[in-house]
């Protein structure tokens, strides 16, 4: 039970720590949204700072993650409002292509990661946000709706379209590229 101590003395030590702990999660999500590692770090940092300042407003400790994701989504929104050029599919291709040679397995996996990211980057922004919240962070539809400030029906239809698009790109890959690899699992 929250006895209100946080409200009197600012965020308690435990809450501060919990907020800090979500930084990695925020960075991952921000990256999935914008595909720019430096920007993702900045956004995560910004969101953590905002959350620490606003910690008194968090009513339900259980909802910390969703609350922080919502702050992150707003940070990104602010950023987009300032400049619109944050998604650069080309740069994803480049960073991954610049890899040093690695064992075959790692390379195949990296290739898969690259393709998934390119596919995600190709989604309309709204769809990308929904599908990453639900699949990466396992947000419920209600949470995703809260975080992005959209109705659940919108969450469901965006999700549906996002998956349809991803499957169109990814399923042939699974069968061609990885069909062979699968047999080696035996």
């Amino acid at each position: 039970m929250n006895l209100g101590i946080d409200h009197l003395f600012g965020p308690g030590q435990a809450l501060r720590r919990d907020i800090e702990r979500e930084r990695g999660m925020l960075g991952r999500m921000a990256y999935a949204w914008c595909h720019d590692a430096a920007l993702a770090d900045d956004l995560a940092q910004m969101a953590v700072e905002k959350a620490l300042r606003a910690a008194g407003q968090l009513r339900d400790r259980e909802k910390l993650k969703a609350w922080m994701l919502r702050i992150l989504a707003n940070c990104l929104k602010d950023h987009v409002r300032e400049r619109r050029d944050f998604v650069d599919i080309g740069s994803i291709e480049e960073t991954v292509a610049a890899d040093e040679p690695t064992p075959e397995e790692a390379r195949a996996s990296r290739e898969l990661v690259r393709r998934v990211r390119v596919a995600v980057a190709g989604l309309p922004f709204g769809q990308r946000q929904v599908v990453t919240l639900v699949d990466l962070e396992e947000c419920s539809y209600a949470e995703a709706g809260d975080i992005l400030e959209i109705p659940i029906g919108t969450v469901m239809s965006r999700l549906c379209r996002a998956r349809r698009a991803l499957r169109e790109v990814l399923e042939p890959v699974a069968e061609d590229t990885l069909g062979n690899r699968l047999r080696s699992v035996k």
């Binding site: 397995e105 539809y141 469901m156 990814l170 699992v185 035996k186």
Partner: protein, 244 residues
């Protein structure tokens, strides 16, 4: 069979995402069970989810940045997981063998406790593999709760049951000797239910040690060459698979 679809794409997605309440869930589950095409759809949806998760699992997704070269372990795990995902989902098509997943375990994928419980009465053989790979004390605690319930129930009803918990990645925290509460619960479970085995992924262990993280496993935890290996073996032996 190709006429009007009984389950909409949205509904099927919600099924896979664990977003349906019991009544809806049962309705969709019944249709999925009776329709192989729908089952295939469920598998494919799960595969997409899983791939997405793997594609962004590393911090800020910097898989290729030389600055982050100090994170050697991750790709191996991703490779293992990607292979595993395929082995699990497309495996029966590729292997020309009886399907590794029976109809019950197909629902039980991805930590869907609700469905596992629903199907529990119809399980033959009573072998359940619980794969713990996600981080978070709550998830681990919840997994233990469920395992405990399953064990207790089968004990009461004198039904044979074997449960194995295999942990890798962040899920390995479950077996850390240092975490007193979890470790104590595990020890108690292991003592009360000899049919419970605990298996840690050697690759995760070695990766953690290589990063200089001290790892001390709770007593009674054995090692498998890798979690992937263990899961594939068990699936092929007809175990029900639950991912947490």
């Amino acid at each position: 069979m190709n006429e009007e679809r009984k389950v909409s794409e949205e509904l099927l997605g919600a099924f896979v995402d664990g977003e349906l309440v019991a009544a809806e869930w049962a309705l969709v589950a019944a249709q999925v069970e009776s329709d192989p095409a729908l089952r295939e759809e469920v598998c494919r949806l799960r595969a997409v989810k899983e791939r997405l998760r793997h594609a962004y699992a590393s911090p800020s997704g910097r898989i290729a940045s030389p600055r982050r070269a100090a994170k050697p372990g991750w790709m191996g795990l991703a490779a293992a997981s990607a292979l595993f995902a395929l082995a699990g989902w497309f495996g029966h098509a590729e292997w020309n063998r009886p399907p590794a997943l029976d109809s019950a375990s197909a629902y039980a994928l991805r930590g869907d406790w609700h469905s596992l419980r629903g199907d529990w009465g119809s399980l033959e053989g009573g072998k359940v593999l619980v794969h713990v790979s996600s981080p978070g004390r709550e998830a681990l605690g919840a997994a233990l709760d469920e395992v405990e319930d399953l064990l207790r129930e089968s004990d009461r009803e004198r039904r044979p049951l074997e449960v194995e918990i295999v942990a890798n990645g962040p899920g390995l925290d479950l077996f850390q000797a240092g975490d007193t509460l979890l470790a104590r619960r595990l020890a108690a479970l292991k003592r009360d239910y000899p049919a419970l085995s605990l298996v840690a992924c050697r690759q995760t262990l070695e990766r953690r040690r290589a990063r200089g993280e001290p790892v001390e496993l709770a007593p009674g935890v054995s090692l498998a060459p890798s979690a992937l290996h263990e899961v594939v073996e068990r699936l092929r032996a007809g175990w029900v698979y639950v991912r947490v």
